[in-house]
């Protein structure tokens, strides 16, 4: 298969203008099957906007978006659900696609919230709801997953487990993932490609390339790039499928 056939979504010089002000401009990136692309950047740098452009939520954009799949799972950053709706977790799982019981149970088990299946959505805590959102997005077995800070509000151990899960899913379903995250540790460990945004693409490339980039240092500070280098030092071994550690 050539690379072109693996492309799920491609942004060409894309941007969004609102009230004569560009929220984000000139973004070019592509998400391929089985690859994780991460967007990083400070608040207001246009990460969520870029994700929504990729999803086709905005109609009037600058540049263009080529989307090659309709099987999309989305975890939005902010979700304001009207609690006047009587909605249980189980109903919410089938919001955009009808799924059978086993599929729903499996996805809820993966994110560790199967015990909440019959609970009302309004009764969940922030972290629990986040896990349900992620379960819903992966249950459809999408080609493209767009995750906008998927682990916000999740406890520390849960956060690591969920990132492991995300990484596993990208391999198992060979789906492409567009991830927005603030956690630089995780970003660098799980990501194939990093795009650093600040109203425009300030730099992009492999995690290590980005870490060495001066603009990235200016944006996140010297410490941030040390996180990355430290991270690289940690991995002088690889994990085999059996869970054993093998020295490089």
């Amino acid at each position: 298969m050539s690379t072109d056939q693996n492309i799920l979504v491609k942004l060409n010089d894309a941007g969004l203008q609102l009230n004569n002000k560009w929220l984000v401009k000139g973004v070019s990136l592509q998400v391929e099957k089985g690859k994780i692309v991460t967007l990083i950047g400070p608040n207001g740098s246009g990460k969520s906007t870029t994700a929504k452009i990729a999803l086709g939520i905005y109609k009037k954009i600058g540049g263009s978006v080529e989307k090659y799949t309709n099987k999309v799972g989305y975890v939005p950053q902010k979700i304001s659900i009207d609690w006047t709706l009587p909605l249980r977790v189980n109903d919410f799982m089938m919001l955009t696609e009808s799924l059978n019981k086993d599929t729903i149970d499996e996805a809820l088990s993966l994110t560790g919230v199967i015990h909440l299946k019959d609970k009302n959505l309004g009764d969940l805590s922030g972290g629990e709801f986040q896990r349900v959102l992620l379960a819903r997005a992966i249950s459809k077995k999408p080609d493209l997953l767009v995750l906008d800070e998927p682990v916000q509000g999740v406890d520390f151990t849960g956060e690591i487990a969920l990132y492991e899960l995300i990484k596993k899913i990208s391999g198992e379903l060979s789906c492409g993932i567009l991830l927005i995250s603030h956690d630089l540790h995780t970003v660098m460990s799980a990501t194939d490609h990093v795009v650093c945004l600040n109203g425009h693409v300030c730099c992009s490339g492999s995690p290590m390339d980005v870490a060495k980039n001066n603009e990235y240092k200016a944006l996140f500070g010297e410490q941030a790039s040390q996180i990355l280098s430290r991270y690289e030092h940690k991995h002088d071994h690889i994990h085999t499928d059996e869970g054993e550690i093998k020295k490089n």
């Binding site: 929504k52 009207d82 919410f92 919001l95």
Partner: protein, 267 residues
């Protein structure tokens, strides 16, 4: 069987309740109560036009309400006024224009009370056909757009991102709102149509834990309101609309006891 005016009113009311049940749930979920009211107010203009041109009332109301909905959408896009101000503007001006036009139509005998509050004497066999065929069409369409409409009610961006085309569903739903107003005007009256949509659905919300059960309770609530209301109307010679809505209100009050219980259980 349909010779009896009361049987006709009952059959008409039951048909209306089947449709207002599910639509009313969406009116509550999407916070469209005042929007429904605005469309209903414009119905008066539709009725007067129907009389002037000797045209079918239901179709005329449907057309006028749909046009009003379109005007509203355009105004929302092109002005900076808040949504509720635009709704108020359209509701009252269309009601006023309707009343002014009636003033000019001195040559037609008009039962304005019947129009505003419903009249069980007014239901003809023709109206029954419009209610049941129109109602079936509304329900089928709603079933067809249920998924995108419901998903976008929960979260617009999720629905749009996952390819459900929520804008189309919303536009179709607006037309369905105009249609239900058109078919229920005779039995409930144009001032109280929104009550028929909201009150049984509000009652249902108190009793239900899932969207599906809310729709079912809403239909049951609407049916009970119609039956109780129409018998009251017959017995005490009251207008049908207010009688139905009062019955719905009583059911709503009863449903409040259920919430009290479940709150107690939680604590």
């Amino acid at each position: 069987m349909f010779d009896d005016f009361f049987i006709r009113a009952l059959v008409a009311g039951i048909g209306v309740a089947f449709v207002t049940g599910p639509l009313g749930c969406f009116v509550i979920w999407r916070r469209l109560s005042y929007f429904g009211d605005t469309l209903a107010h414009s119905a008066l203009l539709g009725v007067t036009l129907a009389f002037t041109m000797e045209f079918n009332i239901a179709i005329s109301v449907f057309v006028i309400s749909s046009i009003l909905a379109l005007i509203l959408i355009q105004l929302q896009k092109k002005t900076n006024l808040p949504g509720d101000a635009l709704l108020g503007l359209l509701a009252h001006s269309s009601l006023a224009v309707g009343l002014v036009v009636i003033g000019f139509l001195t040559f037609i005998r008009f039962d304005i009370m019947g129009l505003l509050f419903g009249d069980i004497l007014a239901v003809s066999v023709n109206d029954l056909l419009i209610i049941w065929i129109g109602g079936a069409f509304i329900l089928l369409t709603l079933k067809f757009i249920w998924k995108p409409l419901f998903a976008s009610t929960v979260n617009y961006e999720l629905a749009e991102a996952e390819g459900l085309n929520p804008d189309r569903a919303k536009a179709i739903f607006t037309i369905l709102m105009a249609a239900i107003i058109a078919i229920s005007i005779k039995i409930v009256g144009l001032l109280l149509i929104t009550g028929m949509l909201i009150i049984p659905a509000a009652m249902a919300r108190n009793l239900s834990s899932s969207p599906q059960s809310m729709v079912i309770y809403s239909i049951i609530g609407g049916l009970l309101s119609v039956i109780i209301g129409l018998f009251t109307s017959l017995e005490f010679n009251t207008s049908s609309g207010p009688s139905i809505i009062t019955a719905a209100l009583l059911l709503f009050i009863l449903s409040l006891f259920k919430i009290k219980q479940s709150i107690k259980l939680k604590n």
